[in-house]
Symmetry: C2
Subunit: 339 residues, 2 copies
DNA sequence: CTGAAAGCGCTTACAG
DNA sequence: CTGAAAGCGCTTACAG
């Protein structure tokens, strides 16, 4: 079934069928009904490829996310889909596999634009460097980068404020709990997020007039295993609290403490960052910093919709969303239901 | 940039440019080089919409999954993407939101086919009834249904063997642990998976000559909250073990036990089903049945690729993948590292 | 080995 | 209000 056959059966021209299909231009009510009847009878649906070719669009946006870093990207997907679905857009999903070459993947997602497979791209690729992102900014189609900022690149970004998240946690530990000797487990040296979180730690200490002590800062790699290896060293400095800059590492440290048979009461306060799906279920339930993944997705999709509906020349949006701290048992605020 | 412009600049016809682009037909080496040079100079990429319209394909397959039921669908996505990427296919993702009308969503994913937005569809929609799936089977494009079987419908399916998973767990409880009084917490009445799991429970009991006792079977709704509400009743029948037919419910029961301050040693063995991301992290780490989500995705994508490359008339594939039990602390096999 | 032409299935000024 | 025609950017027999 094509528009031509429908036209023939209805005894009108293709143009007219197109008009009733799109509700555009003038069509006599009588004609419309005649055409609609045939369309419905044959359950006709226009070929999107032809429509898109003619209208030079795709009604599809591409989403690129890592699969590796676990499950909370599902929230980003939800946020985006909610907006896209409401606007009649579709989502092409491409994932960053740890196993695949990153630059290959970048080339591939870039080509989604060139091949006109999508009208725009939303990308979660915190390791992309400035020059590459600048290239993407030069594309004729809109791109929104997620997860971090590129202050010097004129491109839309949506990220969570990791610095302030870290600061909020520090405030909680310093003000509410009154701790002064707080150990910090940082991520790998080249991680943007890792650096932001470390900055939050340092800056907040300074605000409180507490000297920055290098011996209290431990270098982890954002994995549980890595944290388990350095846990002993951390315990050795006898901190009042340990701020692991992600939940995985917090988990590793808690685990190591259990292995070492250190009684719960003797374990320093351990807090994390990310609010992993299991964070509330471990023992003790983890106090942590939560990133608004759903809202990141939603905001990104909204910006994309705006760009696609003409807001093209506007200044780049640099959205930074609030992170919040989730207070549970591990910092001691909520008593464990079951010891 | 279009093929026409490239042709003009290279001083050849569009047909020739198309040939070098597709590596098809004969092209003199000299001509090829001349054309390639222009293509590269202008960084020309053909418009996929035009290509797809001409070749009547899309190189895209649609994936439909629920977002609600948590994060393990990410594994399915990974499995599918691995295969698709290797074959140069793209993935259009559509999600089932709890908030949206299911039938609307069905209509929508069906229309992906009609609109020729995708070459085929992989669908995770265990609530779809037979008549609807039959409709999908009648479509001219291939569909693979995930998560459950439709024995009477001639359609490809890939599912995990929930029945046997349930049976394996029962065998473990019966043979290894020697329990006889095993309570079972079932899911809602209309859930396919819930029923399969219940069957596994019943059948295995019968094998062991143990009478089916209705008082040992409790009706949950697959949620933690629901399970918490009925936990007391379960404890009241004094079972040796509680087989919750999903992890959420197992968690609810464990939680309730903690609230009731029942000492760990007095809590009957509690096991689950699903291997949720937090299952290994809770206390006690949950013994559970694991479904091979990655392999489900991979298998589905492989079937799809086969169908698209001509295996069209073949008999429907009904793949059932093995589930396995993951033995942890909650059944008592592994001692908790930390009590 | 190469090109002219028809075709894929739509949309959209333009003319009437 | 409606239709003929050109156009979107490619591919593919067909002829030479």
């Amino acid at each position: 079934m094509t528009i031509a056959k429908i036209a023939e059966l209805a005894g009108v021209s293709k143009a007219t069928v197109s008009r009733v299909l799109n509700n555009s231009g003038y069509v006599a009510e009588k004609t419309r009904r005649k055409v609609m009847k045939i369309i419905e009878e044959f359950n006709f649906v226009p070929d999107s490829r032809a429509v898109n070719l003619s209208k030079s669009m795709t009604r599809t946006i591409g989403l690129v996310i890592p699969t590796t870093s676990g499950p909370f990207y599902m929230e980003v997907i939800r946020g985006i889909e909610d907006v896209l679905a409401a606007n009649g857009y579709y989502m092409l999903l491409m994932t960053f596999e740890a196993s695949r070459d990153k630059n290959e993947t970048r080339k591939k997602y870039r080509s989604l634009l060139d091949e006109k497979r999508v009208d725009g791209l939303i990308v979660f690729d915190p390791e992309a460097d400035e020059s590459f992102v600048q290239e993407m900014a030069n594309a004729k189609k809109p791109c929104v980068y997620l997860g971090r900022e590129y202050p010097k690149v004129p491109i839309d970004t949506v990220s969570a404020d990791n610095f302030t998240g870290s600061r909020l946690m520090m405030l909680h530990l310093l003000e509410h709990h009154g701790f002064r000797k707080i150990a910090f487990v940082r991520g790998p040296l080249d991680s943007y997020h890792g650096l932001e979180r470390l900055k939050g730690y340092r800056k907040t200490l300074r605000e409180f007039g507490i000297g920055y002590d290098e011996n209290l800062v431990f270098c982890g790699n954002f994995t549980r295993e890595g944290a388990e290896k350095i846990a002993k060293k951390i315990f050795a400095v006898n901190p009042e609290a340990i701020f692991a800059s992600n939940d995985e590492m917090a988990l590793g440290i808690i685990h190591k403490a259990k292995q070492l048979k250190i009684p719960l009461s003797k374990i320093p306060i351990i807090v994390g960052f990310d609010d992993a799906p299991w964070a509330e279920h471990i023992n003790p339930a983890l106090t942590t910093v939560k990133q608004p993944m759903y809202d990141i997705g939603k905001t990104a999709a909204r910006i994309m919709m705006d760009r696609l509906s003409g807001d093209r020349s506007k200044v780049p949006m640099k959205v930074k969303l609030h992170t919040s701290i989730v207070i549970r048992e591990s910092c001691g605020c909520l008593k464990a239901a079951f010891e």
